[in-house]
Symmetry: C2
Subunit: 270 residues, 2 copies
């Protein structure tokens, strides 16, 4: 049985809200965490966001997002790393538990090289994150995003990079929507023990209405969410559980009603 | 450099054609193989199809498809196996090189049990296939089809079932669209050496226009097709290469024009 003490609302679940609206809504619903997106932080302003967080007492479970390392030139790779350093600065200012890394898609049809670029990019970023005291969480995406969003498509690959680089500031973020299909999901969760920095929930609707914006709310799909949650807990992660749902239909609901629906489903299906 | 000696046209690439149209078109274009779907065979009639194949000299690289093993009751599981036996009979009558197994989707949100049902179903089918002299090819589908079409989502899982059951009539079918994203794709192709019963090509367009019917023609997407073809050849598969493209736009083209386009792309991008 869950309470709401670990509940975090990813900002894109209520995409139409600004940060002031989100924080006001979550405060009214006694939701303790939010996950913020950098474009929304830029819209409200970093200082104002920090002030509103202080006023409401809401904590930031994660900042979305860093990553996107593969690039055609060394210059562009360096600029990507620098942009990630700005994201680390923001995550530090917001007191976020973790900066989520969506590693970036395929370059020039070359999966091997693109994957190497991800590992190289993260290696360059880790010292800056250590100095800033910010955790980096590699989030593998579903293989259907390998071409355009993340060549890191499995927990196995994420765990390999984490083990290779061996920094206490580097771990993984597990989103059930991206990893539920994987025959190795439970062994890889166990392997990540002590290095899990986030856990995201939504559901896989059948049929999928839209690859990018057709995620379901928990209970509407086929993912064994409680089993995955238990596995993640047994691997030592007891931090915030983020509800991250990109869904064209849900975005049409009024924000407060959507938050209440999320709370109901969080109790019954997470 | 490819010639057309290994080219096979999967019937659903020119979906609007009947079997007589398909065989006439392929004969005119000097395409030596086709892959036939059971619904189309039923439409034309098995005997008539066999006769037309004899008339044209075209060979059948595969029959699509058997599989779909998970079922809610033991009775239904048995009926599924019986339906697969009919598919084996048809494949034998058509002189097909292999019956493709699309293993079936998730039952009751239980991936483990669904996967077990697939292995059990194939185990029940193998003796019948051996007796009929028909090869069965497990085709892992892309993980985005795990819920509704195939809980077997990787070459690793397919190889495990093949190794477990240890029949010379059981192997795997490799479709680049389904496996290209997999970090283990090359090691698993090597592992399948001697047990590869088919190789299918198409391409992954960015962005994907439609999960089911948005495959690209070779060269329009990001898959390293020649590299995969070489790996499959090195693993000992030198049989037909099937062009299997489900694409709403291509289906609007006249069939002969589409065949010519496929031949061009086969030469330049496979």
């Amino acid at each position: 049985m869950q309470s709401f003490s670990r509940l975090s609302i990813n900002q894109y679940t209520v995409r139409n809200w600004t940060i002031p609206q989100l924080l006001e809504g979550c405060a009214a619903e006694q939701i303790p965490f939010v996950s913020l997106w950098r474009d929304k932080v830029a819209e409200t302003g970093l200082d104002e966001t920090v002030k509103l967080l202080g006023d409401t007492g809401i904590k930031v479970s994660s900042v979305c997002r860093g990553g996107f390392f593969p690039a055609a030139t060394l210059d562009q790779q360096t600029r990507n790393v620098e942009e990630n350093c700005r994201a680390i600065d923001e995550a530090a200012a917001l007191g976020a538990e973790v900066l989520v890394l969506v590693c970036g898609g395929l370059l020039n049809r070359d999966l091997d090289r693109s994957r190497d670029m991800v590992a190289e990019g993260i290696a360059r970023l880790v010292p800056y994150a250590e100095q800033a005291g910010v955790k980096l969480g590699i989030e593998p995406l579903h293989p259907m995003f390998a071409a355009d969003r993340s060549v890191i498509v499995s927990l196995s690959e994420a765990n390999e990079i984490v083990e290779l680089l061996g920094s206490g500031n580097l771990g993984i973020v597990i989103d059930v929507y991206h990893v539920w299909w994987d025959p190795a999901v439970y062994s890889e969760i166990a392997r990540a023990s002590g290095r899990i920095f986030g856990f995201h929930v939504s559901d896989w609707i059948v049929p999928v209405p839209d690859m990018l914006n057709g995620r379901g709310i928990m209970g509407d799909g086929v993912i064994e969410i409680p089993r995955l949650r238990n596995a993640v807990s047994e691997a030592g992660y007891l931090g915030p559980i983020e509800v991250e749902i990109f869904n064209n239909q849900l975005w049409r609901l009024p924000g407060r009603g959507l938050l209440q629906l999320v709370k109901d489903r969080f109790l019954t299906h997470v």
